[in-house]
Amino acid sequence: MDFIRTIAIAASGLRAQAGRIRVISENIANADSLAQTPGGDPYRRRVPTFTSQLDRSLEARTVALGPVRPDTSDFKIKHEPGNPAADAAGNVKYPNVNPLIEMTDMRDAQRSYEANVNLIGATRAMIQRTLDILKG
């Protein structure tokens, strides 16, 4: 039945957006994770990607979370000689996580997630209408 396929496609969207939220929360949680060794690299921000693939059983293009790539931008450097993670010159590398960007990304993911949820709701209502024919 086509409606079940519709729900399966929307569910793939839900899964992908939930995975995206997971990566975002990982970034926010590690916004202050410094290196374990003096002068080492701290947590590097990770960027979720999406890939579209043709699902042959559904005959539609579903979405999936692609490889999670590292953000290659520079680390923030602060001068803190007393910090255990500081290098010889007293500089500490902080993660390249910008909370503002993460919050914006999270809102975007939330919005897409809700759109998929709405679609499932609409499809369920349509299935209900079909069943209402039986009540006649």
Binding site: D2, I7, G13, A60, R61, V63, R111, N116, T123
Partner: protein
């Protein structure tokens, strides 16, 4: 004669199948709302073959050469310019547009199913129940 051979039921069945398929296509668009380089797709409107041609276009009578011709062709207006914006990632899905399409699809489907059950009611009336 099977119930599905009755023209109204056959037509409604076609319409309902079209809306089912469209719902699937719209779900695909929404699911791929963040996929790079994805362009939204939609179904072509169904066309029912009418036995008789549509109503003849009515012309306004012009009794004086100074009269304006008036609008006889509604085709001048278009409410669906088929425009979309492409975001930097190459994705062109607008969630708002897709949601409006989903709502419209749902309402049209509901209209079809209600017509269907109403037609069934007519049949029941004909057999005297």
């Amino acid at each position: 004669m099977a119930i599905t051979d009755i023209p109204i039921f056959a037509m409604l069945r076609t319409k309902m199948q079209w809306h089912q398929q469209r719902q699937q296509v719209l779900a695909q668009n929404v699911a791929n709302a963040d996929t790079p380089h994805y362009r939204p797709v939609d179904l072509v409107d169904p066309k029912f073959q009418l036995a008789a041609p549509g109503p003849a276009t009515v012309q306004l009578a012009r009794t004086d050469p100074g009269h304006l011709a008036g609008f006889t062709d509604a085709g001048n207006f278009s409410n669906n310019p088929n425009q979309y914006q492409v975001r930097p990632a190459g994705n062109a899905v607008t969630l708002e547009d897709e949601m409006i399409k989903v709502a419209a699809n749902q309402m049209d489907y509901q209209a079809a199913t209600q017509l269907y059950s109403r037609s069934l009611g007519l049949l029941k009336m004909a057999v005297g129940r």
